[in-house]
Symmetry: C3
Subunit: 265 residues, 3 copies
């Protein structure tokens, strides 16, 4: 990391927007490396929703430069036998509990290195049983940002814990996925990628079903349809998305994460 | 900007507090300029409420040093024919969709330069149709912060798109404005400026009406009246404000943005 | 502060998450010291809840390095006779209205210096009556971060304003405290410290009562009990905490700040 003049450390947690717990982590990091650049990814992950955290992290991580250090804390098992791990994935560094929080990332690109954090000399002198984000992950991130080699952090591991991934089924003239995330506009982001859509017509022959709701065609952007219309498009992260122009599709349709989405043509 | 050791880039969006979309913009900016200082103005603008964004931006922008770069993304027309523009106003740099988001600022001080962003070599290599904040505005802001001259960004423009501005009527012994913003304390900020109030008596001869509610006098600060009293004062941005001491005037009175406010004396 | 390459200034307010008022303070600080590192502690303190602000500040402040400057603005008396004070406590610098906001900190460690801010040459040229956070506290923090000696800020004071502190009663085989804070997970943080618990058995002989609810034993971490169980543990800040595993104790039990908590053994 010698070539990064100001090392970037990002934080993603389920601590809630405005929680002072985040600032405690930042204080620890800055105590060790006052030159770290601290960026909040989000702290609005629903409490203990590992799957939502994994999805958000996957979405954001690669917008950051190579060498960035991403710390993710959604940790219902804090203080239990679950390990805390370091992983290097696609040139970026991750520190998280080994509970599936990195599984969306690792499904896209295999980690080039995984280390279980066992070397407590890199941790805070006193480690609480309930806040390893502050007492283990924050100081380890700070030390990595100062140039510590990750191999020193502990014991190599071969694989990460993975969440059961809902499957996208690709059939002749049919794709079956699900809503994976709802963004702040109420848009329904599915797990159907633009690559899966290559052979799907974008005109009205494409029938998209979500719960009992239905729309035709895959558009380019929101303003391609009049207000209050349900439309489908490929969103900014490369996934099929359902939106109601000028309103919240999630609220209007009463749809939640996990709802099946089907394209037929 | 050679004299600014750490260039400041601020972000104002309607992405919602805690949205990871903001972090995506920050990642892109830091990838191009790791020395940029990133400051959140607010991400709590109601979805697609351009007028609220324009008001907030006007309120905050000039607290920042000359040379600061303000990026504002409230962009219901993303991907449509609306342009993205650069404007220099009062020594600060603005990047926003040309949809009225800069109109409150431009109404105060005429822009000294306006450029439509057309030079795509300064954008991300791949531009999505739905997230120009990340793919166009963020990289352009980063490049400006590195010293790129704004004239290179595209085509000069003569004027900015403007929102229809509600008018303040100044009559003999009467001023008629409206509530323009509700702050986080529930205070009702109007568009009546302290300059307009120069001839208004501050004692009980000044009758202030808001909807069916009424109060007398213009006070100096909240604690000049007892708890639970409706009072008027000139707020910290220089606008007449109605507040209920120790509570939320917006919630107590059921008042919204746009409600007429009248002063008579 | 000559040895701190990038001086840290933290901000704690009741302005609300997403309020642009925070950005106004940051703009003023960066105008004076572009090298300041700005960290948000929280802006989600309930409006004008000085006691909650004092508790959060106490909890977070000492995670930051020596020399950090903490600015706290929960200021219902803004513009009134209440003073704004600088205090040095345990090697960190504090700027706040003198209304009790520093009382939890000062109860732990006596301030080594207190100065009432009276020297208006260190303030903004124009000081509003309603936003001293921006017009007095922000510029003073910036100037301290540039090396200004705190003694120049105004008039020495002997003591800080203190909030009435609810008392923890320690009796033979009984401790009586109260819920002092509810965190973002809905955990109930009490004012009973780990030091007070030294003689309390951690097994089922320890009976903990909160309102009409009851649990036995003091555990190490959340995952020591099955989901949906009420459990007691010592939390990450060293206080007895009541939690419902995998859910919000505050919501499930309907408990608020101030509810008595009793341990008997």
């Amino acid at each position: 990391m010698a070539d990064t003049p100001r090392p970037i450390i990002t934080l993603l947690t389920d601590f809630g927007v405005g929680s002072p717990y985040v600032a405690q982590m930042k204080g620890i990091i800055l105590s060790l490396n006052p030159h770290a650049v601290l960026i909040d990814v989000t702290h609005a992950i629903a409490p203990q929703d590992i799957a939502a955290g994994a999805w958000a992290l996957r979405d954001v991580a690669e917008s950051f430069p190579l060498g960035s250090i991403h710390v993710a804390v959604v940790d219902p098992g804090v203080g239990s036998a679950r390990e805390i791990i370091y992983a290097e994935i696609a040139g970026r560094h991750y520190i998280a509990p080994d509970n599936g929080l990195l599984s969306c990332l690792a499904a896209r690109t295999s980690p080039s290195r995984i280390v279980a954090l066992t070397e407590d000399r890199f941790w805070q002198p006193r480690v609480s049983a309930t806040f390893h984000g502050r007492d283990i992950m924050a100081p380890v991130a700070a030390r990595l940002s100062l140039g510590l080699d990750a191999s020193q952090l502990g014991v190599p591991r071969q694989r990460l814990e993975c969440l059961p991934e809902p499957e996208v089924r690709i059939l002749p003239n049919k794709i079956e996925g699900q809503v994976r995330s709802i963004d702040s506009f109420g848009n329904l982001v599915t797990d159907i990628t633009s690559e899966m859509l290559v052979e799907v017509p974008t005109d009205e022959r494409a029938q998209i079903h979500c719960d009992e709701h239905q729309t035709q065609g895959i558009f380019r952007t929101y303003s391609d349809q009049p207000e209050m219309t349900l439309l489908a498009l490929v969103g900014s992260s490369g996934f099929l998305e359902l939106a109601i122009v000028g309103d919240s599709a999630a609220a209007m349709l009463g749809v939640r994460v996990g709802t099946p989405v089907k394209i037929q043509w």
